[in-house]
Every structure is written in structure tokens, then in C-alpha cells.
């Protein structure tokens, strides 16, 4: 035998799934939302998408190089971060601000903590929040769909979330100029580039669930909790609940950001707690807080709790009896 035999630990077959494949699936699932953002917000959206994705990949490449660690841009995770970040931004944001967001996400949040799988908070969300507090005016300048985002005097409009925050008790009819629920579904209203078109987001989310890239647990518990809370806050007004679910970053957050592997619990019970926690915090901010929107903050707050949630919900190894039960049984004997 000329070549030597490979000797390695079992198993000797591996599934065909790869990190790159998973990230590619996430990119594919976000394509509908990205396309719709270009449809609604034009070339400006395309420019923002290119800038965030490009600067994310570049930031990843350079930071790995500087840290003398293996290059990881081929796993496509930087593309996903850039893409999600772009979808979270208003279409009017200056491009250099978007680039700063990408650099914060990749360098500060991800690579400084050790790269993929090591960051304790979601890079895109953290970048968004940092941009929000750094450039509050620019980050709240929403235009209506089909407005020319390049023009300095583009007509701004309020997001449905901001409009709804002005009324108490879910009185939807009291809000003037609120888009219809159909408009909410197809995305014909103001808001972040990627969050407006609910149908595209739901399609992408379903794709991820069917491809088994994400488990449906977090999206379901997250959205479900928001539904229950807003229904209660709206005194049983289903219309209000529907606006709350379709509006703001809820769908984008629940399907694509709260399910981020690195920053969500890996066990089933932990996922339930995480989803409910995100839903509760989002609802509290939306209903009682002064901000119209709370998805980003809820996810980042729950990200921080993940190690504790996991620690408390770790499943007992096969066949191991719970300590309490053991004590009970011992007491019986």
C-alpha cells in the first residue's frame, strides 16, 4: 500500500451540513426581505446593503489578519451580519454611519470576543443600538416607500409603531393615517428597510424552519408572548394585536435575530424561556416605555441572560432521576 490509511476517531461518516451551508441558508431566507427593501426604498437600499455587507466582510478579513488567526470570511457569517444590520436601518442613513455599524458589529462585538460562536450578544443588534444612541436623529428618519432616499429633503413619515405609541389602550381607530393591515403585510409603510414587508419575513422564517436551520420554538414563543401581552394591553382588541405583530422589528427579530445560534440557548427549555423573555420585554417597552419599539433591546437583554438560562434548564442526563424526586423516593423508603 503506497498511501497510508487514515486512522481517526469514530464516527467515520459525517452529515453533509456545514457552517457555510447554514449561513447560506440564512442569506437565502433574507433575500425576499432584501429584495422588497430595494423595491420600496430603491437604489438607496441597495447602496446600504452593499455597504454593510461589504464593510462587514472587509472588517472580518482585516481583524482576523491583524489578530493572526485563520481567515473565516468563507463561512459567510459576516455576510449574514451585514445583511441583517442593513435590514435594521432606515433607508436614509448616511452610508458612512452604516459602515461604522458594520465595523462595530464585526470587530467590537464579534471578533474581540473570539469570533464566530463566541460573542455574547447579537452583533447586528448591538451595532444597531450603538448607532441609535450615537446618531439618534439619523436613525429615526423614516421615509415612506417609493420616496427618493437620496434626496436630502425626502419626505419623512412616522412608523406605525410610533403612531400606535401615541394612543392608549389599543384604540386603533383613534390613530389617523395608520396604514391598513394589508399594507402592513405587504410592507407599504415607513420603517427600517427590512422590517416593513411582513410577508417576505414570514416566508424567509418558514424557509429556515423547513430547512431545519432554526427551531420554531423561539419565534413562536416570542411572537406568541407579544400577541398575548398586546391583546391584554389593547383590552382584547385583535386589530391592535395584529398591528403590534406585523409592525416594528418583531418578525425580523423573532425569526432572524433572536434565533441567532450563538446568542440563544441551545436547549429546548432554554429556548422557551428565552422566547417568552424577549416577548415580555418587547411588550413592556412598547406598552409602557417611552420608545415606540423594543425588539432590539429585548433581544440584547435576553442575550445577556443566556448563560444563566442554560445553566438553570440543562436537561438531566438519560436515566438520571431529579434530586427532588430522589429525596422523595428516599423518604418513602
Amino acid at each position: 500500500m503506497a498511501k497510508k490509511l487514515t486512522v481517526s476517531a469514530s464516527p467515520h461518516v459525517r452529515s453533509s451540513e456545514t457552517t457555510t451551508g447554514i449561513m447560506l441558508d440564512v442569506v437565502i431566507s433574507l433575500i425576499p426581505a432584501a429584495v422588497m427593501s430595494v423595491v420600496y426604498f430603491g437604489t438607496r437600499a441597495l447602496a446600504l446593503l452593499s455597504v454593510t455587507i461589504g464593510s462587514s466582510v472587509l472588517a472580518e478579513y482585516i481583524s482576523r489578519k491583524v489578530m493572526k488567526r485563520p481567515n473565516t470570511i468563507s463561512d459567510l457569517s459576516a455576510v449574514v451580519t451585514g445583511l441583517i444590520l442593513a435590514l435594521n436601518l432606515p433607508s436614509t442613513l448616511p452610508l458612512w454611519m452604516a459602515a461604522i455599524g458594520s465595523i462595530i458589529a464585526i470587530v467590537v462585538v464579534k471578533q474581540m470576543f473570539g469570533g464566530i460562536g463566541q460573542n455574547f450578544v447579537n452583533p447586528a443588534i448591538t451595532a444597531r443600538i450603538i448607532l441609535m444612541v450615537s446618531f439618534p436623529a439619523a436613525m429615526a428618519k423614516w421615509t415612506a416607500p417609493f420616496e427618493d432616499g437620496w434626496a436630502a429633503d425626502a419626505v419623512t413619515c412616522a412608523t406605525p409603531m410610533a403612531q400606535l405609541a401615541t394612543v392608549n389602550g389599543g384604540d386603533v381607530s383613534a390613530v389617523s393615517g395608520l396604514p391598513s393591515l394589508t399594507q402592513m403585510l405587504i410592507g407599504y409603510h415607513g420603517g427600517s428597510m427590512g422590517e416593513v414587508c411582513s410577508i417576505a419575513l414570514i416566508a424567509g422564517g418558514l424557509y429556515l424552519i423547513l430547512r431545519r436551520v432554526i427551531s420554531p420554538v423561539i419565534p413562536l414563543t416570542f411572537i406568541g408572548t407579544v400577541a398575548v401581552c398586546t391583546l391584554a394591553a389593547g383590552h382584547g382588541n385583535f386589530e391592535f394585536m395584529a398591528y403590534e405583530i406585523l409592525g416594528g422589528g418583531l418578525l425580523l427579530g423573532a425569526f432572524f435575530m433572536a434565533t441567532d445560534y450563538t446568542t440563544s440557548p441551545i436547549n429546548f427549555k432554554g429556548k422557551i424561556i428565552f422566547g417568552i423573555g424577549c416577548g415580555l420585554i418587547t411588550s413592556l417597552i412598547r406598552i409602557f416605555g417611552s420608545l415606540p419599539e423594543g425588539v432590539s433591546f429585548s433581544i440584547i437583554l435576553m442575550n445577556i441572560f443566556v448563560p444563566h438560562i442554560e445553566h438553570l434548564t440543562t436537561a438531566k442526563p438519560f436515566g438520571q432521576v431529579k434530586e427532588k424526586k430522589e429525596k422523595k423516593e428516599a423518604a418513602k423508603v
Binding site: K3, V7, P11, R14, S15, Y261, I266, A315, F318, Q320
Partner: protein
């Protein structure tokens, strides 16, 4: 009899975890072929879990097939028999396929395959006699682990063992010898069930087959239906094909709903699990008295010219077996002893087949054999698929940092190294290796 039909239970959803591995049962339709007697066999003295045997023959002795050539007075062990007739040419250290060195006896064939004259059917009327007979037959679990069968059957009376589970799941890809056993020797299987049941009187006997082997199920059911002596307590059961359905603890859970606690044996929850080939062997042995001198193996894989199911004398050189199967189609890059999920990759084909080996697989260079290792992305697939409800990714971290306290808490000792975690990891991490390392760290710690 109708109860057997009623006994067709499904275990869907009972188990947890596991992976869907491509079955690749390419050799399922190939009848077991008897390989011609090899020119020589090498019989290691350790072909089981437990104490090694001591050779009872010396160089120059003339032995016949079925004669004891190695034994020990230790309980957890099984004697080794000559598997061909001929002359003992060497007694000394031999290298096993996995690189382990142990004592062994080399026999050169005289080509006659004379049977030992002392072979006669054993008389079995009680448990002690059954266990003694099974021990004398040299039987060890033929499914892969190689645990001496008589030790399993000799469960203490106070354990209330009420269930015999006959494992025909054969969940490892490629291997088809258990399936062939069901199809070709259903009589032996039933004889084995009777023989054991007559003495040990279990409340129920469950024959469990994965649902990807409907023909085997039909054949077993037909013969069981025809036979009216068959007690009502014998049930046939189909299990969902999902790796590792055939693992002992999974089997007990699927068949009875009982969970074997960590560090305990199936007997502690009232079960004895036997591989179907072992049961068939017991049936044949009780009828003929012929000890374990040959076994069926699957020879398959992308690098093998003519994949086959073979019956080979134990101790046959692997290279002889591969040559008999037409040699290598192309240069093999990996040769595995056993299935691709839990088998051992070997470095040299010049090694003997042992009692517990059920397959020799040879593969060409393939991408899925070695996957590029990347950083963990915490996707949680390893956690989802772990049949023992462990968190492999966390255990990997604890093992790397030697975090003893966390390792103890993690329950790593229940890991059976089924390979589901490594298999499903998209980042190609060698998780099973870390699981082994973690166990070793704990063993060393407790030895301190």
C-alpha cells in the same frame, strides 16, 4: 399466537435524539457465503470484555475445530476455541486490528477442518447449567461490544428481571449480517428463544427490528405464527429506524419504556438485551453443541471490489477476507472494523477477525470522511441529537479547560460514544474524541 400480532408495537416518539444516517445496506440481498478455510488463523486470547484467557495449548500441538485452546478461571471471560483443525505454530503476542497487543495462538490449517470429538449438545435444565453451557460455548455479544453472554444471563435473582429483549435493530449503516441472520436462520433464532425462555422464564420476550427491514420482520413473524409452542409472551416489535436505535439503553427504552439509570445495567430495570445473532447462536449451540468458531461479517465499502456477507472462521486474517472479496477496487484511504458510526479505523489489514467484529468496511478518499474543522457556532445540533440528553458542545469546553466540577455535573459518564454529535456537527468538530477525553479526565480524577 394472536398476541404476537398485537405485540407489533411502535416505538415512534419514545426515544429522543438520534440521527438519520444513510442506511447503505448494500449487501442486504447477498446471502451469507461460507469462506473457504484459510491457511492459518490467529486467535487472540482477549476477544471479549473482561479478563484475558491463558493459552492451554503449546507450539506443535495438533488441534481440531472446536477444541478449547484458551481459558481462564475468571468469571467475566469466555473461552477461546480452535476455529480450524491443524497444528499450533505459535503462542505469543499478536497485534489486534486496533493496534492492541495481546497473547494469541496461531494455528496452521491441515485443510481437513476436523471437528473436535468432544462436541455434543449440552444438557440444560436450570439457570446454572444454561450459564455454564453458554460460557463453555465461548459466546460473547456478537453485536459489537463483546460482553460475555453468560454474565448477562446470570443476573442476580433479586433484580426481578422480567424481560428479554432481542436486538435486531442493526442501526449501523452498511452492516447486514443480523438482517441475513433473520432471513436465513429464523429457526435458530426461535430455538434460541425457547432454549433461554425454557430455563429463565421471562414474563416477556421482545424481538425488536427497525422498520427498514420489513422482510426480516415478516419471516420471523411467519415462523413464530406457525409455531404453537411459542409462548404468548414472545412479541415482535418494529422500531423507527433512527441511529442509535440499537444501543442497549435506547433498546430498553423503546421496548419497555424503562430508562436505565447512569452507571447501571439493563438488569437493574429488569431487562436482558441480547443481539439476534447471539440468540441464533445459542439456538444452534443447544442443538449441536458446536462452540463459537465462525461468525458472519459484512465486507463492504466503496473500495471493495465484490462486497459480500461472509461466514468466516474467527481468527481469519483481514487481508485474506478482502482478497476473497476481490481485493481493493482502488486504493483505500480508510478501513473500518465495524460500522462507520462506532467502528474502529485500522492501520493495518494484517490482523485477525475477532468474535465481536461484524463488518470490515474499506473506503476510498471521500469528503465526508474528514470534514473541515471550524469553530463551534453553538447551533445546538449535538444537543438535539444526543440520545443521552447531554450537551456535547459544553462538555467539549469543560474537557479542554479540565473543569472537573462542571464535567461531573455534565453527566458525561453516560455517554456511549454513539457518534451522533460528531456526525451532525456542521463545523466538523471531533466531539466524540472530546467526550472520550472528558471521561478519561474524570477517571483519572477519581483514581487520585
Amino acid at each position: 399466537m394472536s398476541k404476537i400480532v398485537n405485540g407489533v408495537l411502535t416505538a415512534v416518539g419514545k426515544g429522543r435524539g438520534g440521527v438519520n444516517v444513510a442506511h447503505n445496506k448494500n449487501t442486504a440481498q447477498l446471502p451469507v457465503e461460507r469462506m473457504p478455510v484459510p491457511a492459518k488463523v490467529v486467535l487472540p486470547m482477549q476477544q471479549h470484555i473482561g479478563a484475558p484467557c491463558t493459552p492451554t495449548v503449546k507450539v506443535g500441538d495438533i488441534v481440531s475445530a472446536g477444541q478449547v485452546i484458551g481459558d481462564t478461571d475468571k468469571f467475566v471471560a469466555a473461552p477461546v476455541h480452535a476455529t480450524i483443525s491443524g497444528k499450533v505454530t505459535a503462542v505469543g503476542d499478536v497485534k489486534l486490528a486496533n493496534g492492541m497487543i495481546c497473547k494469541g495462538v496461531t494455528i496452521e490449517s491441515d485443510g481437513q477442518m476436523r471437528e473436535y470429538e468432544g462436541i455434543k449438545p449440552p444438557v440444560v435444565t436450570n439457570k446454572a447449567e444454561l450459564c455454564a453451557a453458554v460460557r463453555a460455548s465461548g459466546l460473547v455479544g456478537l453485536g459489537g461490544a463483546g460482553f460475555p453472554t453468560h454474565v448477562k444471563l446470570n443476573f442476580p435473582e433479586d433484580k426481578n428481571v422480567d424481560t428479554l429483549i432481542i436486538n435486531a435493530a442493526e442501526c449501523e449503516p452498511y452492516i447486514t449480517v443480523d438482517y441475513r441472520c433473520c432471513v436465513e436462520n429464523p429457526r435458530d433464532i426461535l430455538d434460541g428463544v425457547y432454549g433461554i425462555q425454557k430455563v429463565l422464564k421471562f414474563k416477556q420476550v421482545i424481538i425488536a427490528i427497525e422498520d427498514n427491514k420489513p422482510e426480516a420482520f415478516k419471516i420471523l413473524k411467519e415462523i413464530a405464527d406457525k409455531d404453537n409452542d411459542m409462548g404468548d409472551e414472545v412479541k415482535l416489535m418494529t422500531l423507527k429506524s433512527k441511529y442509535p436505535q440499537g444501543a442497549e439503553k435506547m433498546m430498553v427504552l423503546s421496548a419497555t419504556g424503562r430508562k436505565v439509570p447512569p452507571g447501571k445495567l439493563p438488569a437493574d430495570v429488569g431487562c436482558v438485551v441480547m443481539n439476534i445473532a447471539s440468540v441464533a447462536f445459542v439456538g444452534r449451540y443447544l442443538r449441536t453443541g458446536k462452540p463459537l468458531i465462525s461468525r458472519s461479517i459484512t465486507v463492504d465499502g466503496s473500495a471493495i471490489n465484490n462486497p459480500k456477507n461472509l461466514r468466516v472462521p474467527i481468527g481469519t486474517n483481514i487481508q485474506d477476507i478482502i482478497d476473497y472479496c476481490g481485493g481493493f477496487k482502488s486504493e483505500p484511504r480508510k478501513i473500518i472494523f465495524g460500522g462507520p458510526m462506532m467502528g474502529v479505523a485500522i492501520c493495518d489489514t494484517n490482523a485477525p477477525i475477532c468474535k465481536q467484529n461484524n463488518a470490515v468496511l474499506a473506503f476510498e478518499d471521500r469528503k465526508d470522511i474528514i470534514k473541515k474543522e471550524r469553530d463551534c457556532i453553538r447551533c445546538g445540533r449535538c444537543v438535539d441529537v444526543c440520545p443521552m440528553s447531554l450537551m456535547p458542545t459544553n462538555i467539549e469546553r469543560f474537557a479542554k479547560t479540565k473543569n472537573i466540577e462542571a464535567l461531573i455535573h455534565s453527566g458525561i459518564m453516560v455517554c456511549m460514544e454513539c457518534g451522533s454529535c460528531s456526525y451532525s456537527c456542521p463545523s466538523g468538530r471531533p466531539l466524540v474524541q472530546y467526550m472520550r477525553l472528558a471521561k478519561q479526565i474524570l477517571r483519572e480524577e477519581s483514581a487520585k
